[in-house]
Amino acid sequence: MGMLVQGATVAANGTATVTFAQYSPSLVWKVYQVSVGLNPITQGAQAFLTHDGQPVTSSAFGYSDAAAGDPPIYLRASETLTVQWTNAGVGGQATATIYYEEIPTAELSRYLGGLA
């Protein structure tokens, strides 16, 4: 299982955005978990998770939370996984971590039960 951490500085309007992308057509990332955090902690900060622009889930505890469970997110080449914070403390550090498994694209149908 791989782990990838990315961070961003909270802007003056209290927002921050972190984007994960993978660019290899021969691979698909099976993302098990997305963890979010803020330093310093900002009460009331929210985090929104989107997959290629489509909403996945959100949290009222954007300063410390983790999204996990079924279904996992399959991140194909050129697709993006984005975490956006709102109401975060200006100048703070927003961090997102993904935990994933690399799958050869040719084997993706086996993971998806023949549906892909």
């Binding site: 993302v31 978990q33 997305v34 009460q43 009331g44 985090a47 998770l49 996945v56 889930t57 959100s58 949290s59 009222a60 505890f61 939370d65 983790a66 999204a67 996990a68 469970g69 079924d70 279904p71 996992p72 997110i73």
Partner: protein, 321 residues
């Protein structure tokens, strides 16, 4: 994939919403959007501070509501059951704490823990209080050699459920002595079965005035001459050690070997009620006096036998009606 706290995101957060609308409020106080709260409102979760949440439910009519809150108060996590009154717009909502369950000293992390119900002394057996400590409920009675109360043990690493003795029954005290107690040609004090140890006494047994208890048991001895016999007595120990001459006698039972018979076992049985005058922890012991001719020998082979011969105990019979 979901965030762990995502359940609360399924609620809307209206500003100033009217009755009948689900609502969730972030912040440290109950804002206008909660007012008025009426019996038309559904249950709602309310964040009332950092890492604290209250769940409320309207019952009956009126503007009051009940709530269960998980919060950190008095320096530790607590579960609070409460009642809130007055929830019209502009009202100062009054929160009444009905009861609170809070961990005691130490972490709330398992069975070796302390749960307080009311504010009584932990592990007390006094009336009006109940204590649960170290996974046991002391319910009174005769215990181990240290004289600690009887326990029911709940879930622990050793067993699913275990009770040392039936509730409210003192551990049977088995007595016996295989050696001769000597001639009893005259009334002769023979033996005190109580030397300050739990094996020979019922110690610190809690009794309450108004309740009835019974001393039960039987006692087997062997007389080597016809006409020999003895008196069995159970005393309440008043001082620090047994004093059969002055301690109150609660039970008296007598038996004798029949005339013309020798080396015959004789069994005394007794079942004597006892009603204490006051609430107290009491200690009891047994003694025997011999009379008649011959030699008395207490039969030790029956000590602890499966038949229960030669033992005595006290039993709580409750309140007579």
């Amino acid at each position: 994939m979901k965030f762990s706290q995502n359940i609360f995101q399924t609620l809307t957060i209206p500003n100033g919403a009217g009755p009948g609308t689900p609502r969730m409020v972030l912040g440290s106080s109950i804002p206008d959007s909660m007012n008025p709260i009426t019996n038309a409102d559904p249950p709602a979760g309310v964040f009332i501070g950092n890492r604290a949440i209250a769940m409320m439910q309207i019952f009956g009519t009126g503007l009051d509501f009940e709530f269960i809150a998980f919060m950190v108060i008095a320096g530790g996590p607590s579960i609070v059951f409460g009642h809130a009154a007055g929830s019209n717009t502009g009202d100062l909502i009054t929160i009444n704490q009905v009861c609170e369950f809070a961990p005691g000293v130490g972490a709330f992390n398992g069975f070796y823990n302390t749960i307080e119900v009311a504010d009584g002394t932990l592990a007390a057996v006094d009336r009006g209080t109940m204590g649960v400590t170290r996974s046991s409920i002391p319910i009174g009675g005769h215990g181990d050699s240290s004289g600690t109360p009887l326990f029911i043990n709940f879930l622990d690493s050793a067993s699913v459920f275990r009770t040392n003795y039936p509730p409210f029954m003192g551990q049977p005290v088995r007595i016996g002595n295989g050696s001769s107690q000597g001639s009893t040609g005259t009334d002769t004090f023979l033996q005190i079965f109580g030397v300050g140890t739990a094996a020979n006494q019922i110690q610190n047994y809690p009794v309450f005035s108004g309740l009835t208890y019974r001393f039960e048991g039987q006692f087997t001895f062997n007389g080597t001459a016809s006409g020999s016999g003895l008196v069995f007595q159970i005393h309440k120990q008043v001082g620090g050690s047994p004093a059969p001459a002055t301690d109150p006698v609660l039970v008296t039972a007598e038996g004798a070997v029949g005339t013309g018979t020798t080396s015959t076992n004789m069994t005394i049985g007794f079942n004597q009620p006892y009603q204490p005058a006051a609430n107290a922890r009491e200690t009891y012991y047994a003694s025997i006096f011999g009379f008649g001719a011959g030699v008395i020998t207490v039969v030790s082979t029956n000590w602890g036998s499966a038949t229960g011969v030669t033992n005595w105990s006290i039993r709580d019979c409750g309140r007579l009606v």
